[in-house]
């Protein structure tokens, strides 16, 4: 009996250990309709790619659970002069392959992200190059001052120089030369997860990085593994969540969210994505391409644009089209974006009589016919069908023209439109990028000014404001200028913001997720109960 006791306790301990081990293994099975395009941190700049790479690679700055900028691979920063940013780097960081992180990696990653083949140049807006000061200090030299550089740097990802050189992946992947690089299939970052398996369109496995420098962060959750499972078909993705085959779906089909909410094992978290859906107009041509008005362009008249703004019932769109999942807004930038102001949110009231009298004043008492262009993605395509009946009530006979997304952008880029719907994300969390690409006069010379201004709206006052915002480093003054520009857009109706979509994330009841306004899950904050 006595000699049995140690055996028994050993057995009990073994059983307990087994249970603890089982309790410790927390695998989140995550489904989305898209798979990452590549694993190269500087090649593609699309959400499905970023959703994976944001778990693996880190930048100089990060964001906390409230989306405030916080130090990441840099511990502090300063601006010795207007054209230099100096970053002090964290010293105890290791890449996934065990190498230590140092200034060389930052300098290398800056050069790589500025490479012509990189799609992440915007993460280094205004940066001319990087210079190593010592092993843990790096200077970024600026071509032009960028007061919101830190906002941009959040997107900038750092990879190991030695690893990239060793695997001949010094430059981002080049599609033309039919290259398939090591870095597009493998990763080596410093982040909370490492990629252990990559099967395109089938499965990508992320395993928690036990040596992560920030593993004691109070924000850290308990996931040990994340399985990324792309499921293209909407119905199947929802079914997989209902049947418990996946734990988390980032893009549940809108028509199924009500059904998912009704299920006792599933919950839906809704957050506002920093993306605004808007309507825009050809304000440039002297005669519209798709209208029955000959010899003049009614949309050049601000009163007509204001009439359209008055005629659209955005609450009805919210209720009927968006199924409640939107926040109507009058501003192209939402809260949380640098330069946001409550004042600019004010919309034109829904007022059909006012719209009719504005149209009559502008010389169109009987309205006119026009085509409204949209891409065939949701919810834009549905909105495209909801707006024409509203406009017809004030006399504007709009017909929706919904085309595949892949032909939609080329059409807009040729300015082949009279009125169109698009959405715009504040990717940099700063208003300048939005203003200069959407509202600056289109230069047509790939200068980054007015590139997405497909209606070719042009107002010298707006251009002047934007050029001042660009160089103003006093944040108070800068915010005031941004507000002025946003209010000018409201008065001018250069583009007409409709709403910010609320993004639903659907998950099993035991998942504890933290929503982020860039619609990217940061799995290290997630918990499985």
């Amino acid at each position: 009996m006595n000699h049995a006791a140690p055996i028994r306790s050993a057995f009990v301990i073994a059983i307990c250990a087994l249970f603890i081990a089982a309790a410790d293994a927390k695998t989140l099975r995550y489904a989305s309709q898209d798979d990452p395009q590549t694993l190269d941190p500087h090649s593609a700049n699309l959400q499905p790619t970023t959703r994976v790479l944001a778990q693996v690679y880190e930048g100089l700055v990060g964001r906390d659970r409230n989306f405030k900028l916080v130090p990441a691979l840099a511990v502090s920063w300063s601006q010795p002069d207007a054209k230099t940013w100096r970053f002090k780097l964290r010293s105890n960081v290791k890449f996934h392959d065990g190498q230590s992180f140092s200034a060389d990696d930052v300098v290398f990653s800056v050069e790589r992200a500025l490479h012509p083949l990189s799609q992440l140049k915007s993460s280094l807006q205004g940066v001319a190059g990087a210079r190593k000061v010592d092993n843990f200090t790096v200077d970024l030299a600026m071509k032009e001052p960028n007061p919101v550089l830190l906002n941009h740097l959040f997107q900038f990802r750092i990879l190991s120089r030695e690893w990239a050189v060793k695997n001949r992946a010094e430059a981002p992947q080049n599609y033309k030369d039919r290259e398939d690089t090591y870095a597009s299939r493998n990763t080596n970052g410093t982040g909370p997860f490492k990629v252990t398996l990559r099967q395109p369109d089938v499965k990508t496995v992320l395993v928690a990085n036990g040596d992560w420098w920030n593993k004691n962060s109070p924000e850290k959750g308990n996931l040990t593994q994340v399985d990324l499972l792309p499921v293209k078909s909407n119905a199947t993705r929802a079914a997989a969540l209902l049947s418990g085959e996946v734990d988390f779906v980032i893009d549940p089909p809108p028509q199924d969210t009500a059904r998912l909410k009704a299920n006792a094992n599933v919950k839906v978290v809704e957050g506002a994505e920093a993306r605004v859906q808007y309507l825009a107009f050809d304000t440039n041509r002297s005669e519209l391409m798709y209208s029955d008005v000959k010899g003049k362009n009614p949309l050049k008249d601000v009163r007509v644009r204001q009439a359209i703004a008055h005629a659209i019932d955005v609450e009805a769109i919210k209720e009927k089209v968006m199924r409640g999942l939107s926040v109507p807004t009058g501003s192209m930038i939402g809260p949380g974006v640098q330069g946001y102001s409550k004042e600019a949110e004010k919309r034109y009231a829904f007022d059909k009589e006012k719209a009719k009298s504005l149209l009559a004043e502008a010389g169109y008492p009987n309205g006119f016919a026009i085509t409204l262009d949209c891409g065939n993605v949701q919810p834009a395509a549905d909105i495209c069908q909801a707006i024409p009946p509203m406009l017809s009530q004030v006399g504007i006979r709009a017909s929706p023209n919904i085309v595949p997304q892949a032909t939609y952008y080329p059409k807009l880029q040729k300015f082949d439109t009279s009125m169109y719907i698009l959405s715009w994300g504040s990717v940099t969390s700063d208003a300048l990028y939005t203003l200069q690409l959407l509202l600056h006069t289109s230069t047509g010379e790939n200068t980054g000014l007015g590139d997405s201004n497909y209606g070719r709206y042009s107002n010298p006052k707006m251009d002047e404001l934007i050029s001042r915002i660009k160089v103003e480093s006093d944040m108070k003054k800068r915010d005031a200028l941004i507000r002025e520009a946003l209010l000018l857009n409201n008065r001018d109706v250069a583009v007409l913001p409709l709403h910010q979509a609320l993004v639903p994330w659907a998950m099993r009841k035991n998942v504890d997720a933290v929503f982020s306004p860039n619609n990217i899950p940061y799995f290290f904050r997630f918990k499985l109960n």
């Binding site: 699309l46 083949l117 078909s233 997989a240 049947s243 595949p404 892949a406 880029q413 980054g448």
Partner: protein, 328 residues
């Protein structure tokens, strides 16, 4: 014989070139992949650079010539959506599609033949009539609807079978198979049933009509007159003679199943070539689309070629001119 085969081979090459040309010229209408490779917020300079880096700034005929030249070396370029060589992607996806299509064809044979025999022998029974009616509804319901019904019943309500994916696969050299693991076999059931429904109906109706035809022939009557048992007559004589056209049709159907597994693969996220293709279409992923269409074209051409040659070998009437020449 040799001349016949060579002539058919040359025709096949012409067909392949035509398929390649049509496929490639269609892509001018699919749209611009660059707009889908970059976020909507990208600048015009970014777009221009990516377009250049993809070789999309070259004129059409140069793009096509490059495509054919590379295709002849088995190089179909890099998938714009997945950033990996297309030939490699297709090779990886081939086993999944072949296993799915073969299983569907086997289901078609295993269920279709007995049902066909049954409905032919008991042509007036109410069960036969019910089966024929059911088979009509089965074949007229769209594939994706059947798939979603099966998912709803067997995955969501009963929780018995997985709703998507291929389960665990075993790797044997270049080939990956799901047939050797429990989860792989479970994952195969729903998609294979969905895809197999059409061949079941087809084979059942074919066997039934052939069987009815054969049962009316003289040698069956003589067999009965000789006092053979029903079983011997039905299965020894009638069924055997029914199966020749069934085998031909099954061969041709297999080609169709491979090519048209697209819908089933999309519904079940089956990682085969069809799923790859449909996602390529949505992304305007030209290299993948071109390579897939050429590959499917090749499969059909090869199936037709071998059927033609087999007929030539099997059917003496096709060799008539040689026989006539020899006779003189």
């Amino acid at each position: 014989m040799l001349a016949f085969v060579i002539r058919r081979l040359l025709q096949s090459i012409m067909v392949m070139l035509a398929v390649g040309f049509i496929a490639f010229s269609l892509f001018n209408f699919v749209g611009d992949p660059v707009s889908l490779m970059l976020p909507p917020e990208a600048t015009a300079a970014d777009r221009e650079e990516v377009r250049k880096s993809l070789g999309l700034d070259a004129p059409f005929y140069i793009q096509f010539a490059t495509f054919v030249g590379n295709a002849l070396q088995g190089n179909f370029g890099i998938s714009l959506r997945l950033g990996r060589p297309v030939s490699q992607l297709l090779i990886e996806r081939l086993p999944a599609t072949l296993e799915l299509a073969t299983t569907a064809a086997v289901i078609g044979l295993l269920i279709g033949i007995p049902l066909g025999v049954y409905t032919a022998l008991k042509r007036d029974s109410w069960t036969s009539k019910l089966l024929l009616t059911l088979s009509l509804t089965g074949v007229s319901l769209p594939n994706f609807l059947i798939g979603i019904f099966l998912i709803l019943i067997f995955a969501v309500w009963l929780g018995l079978l997985p709703s998507f994916g291929r389960g665990d696969v075993t790797r044997i050299g270049m080939w990956t198979t799901g047939l050797l693991t429990t989860s792989g076999l479970k994952a195969l059931i729903l998609p294979a049933t969905t895809l197999g429904l059409y061949p079941v109906t087809l084979i059942m109706r074919l066997v039934r009509s052939e069987m009815l035809e054969v049962l009316r022939t003289d040698y069956i009557k003589f067999a009965r007159a000789r006092g053979l048992t029903n079983n011997a007559v039905h299965f020894g004589h009638a069924l055997k003679n029914t199966l020749v056209p069934v085998i031909t049709i099954t061969g041709l159907t297999l080609g169709e199943l491979i090519a048209f597994a697209i819908i089933t693969e999309t519904v079940f996220q089956w990682p085969g070539m069809g799923l790859l293709f449909i996602q390529a279409v949505q992304f305007a992923d030209i290299p993948v689309m071109a390579a897939y269409l050429c590959l499917i074209g090749l499969i059909f051409v090869l199936v037709n070629l071998s059927v033609d040659i087999l007929y030539y070998v099997v059917d003496p009437r096709l060799r008539i001119d040689r026989a006539v020449a020899g006779g003189h």
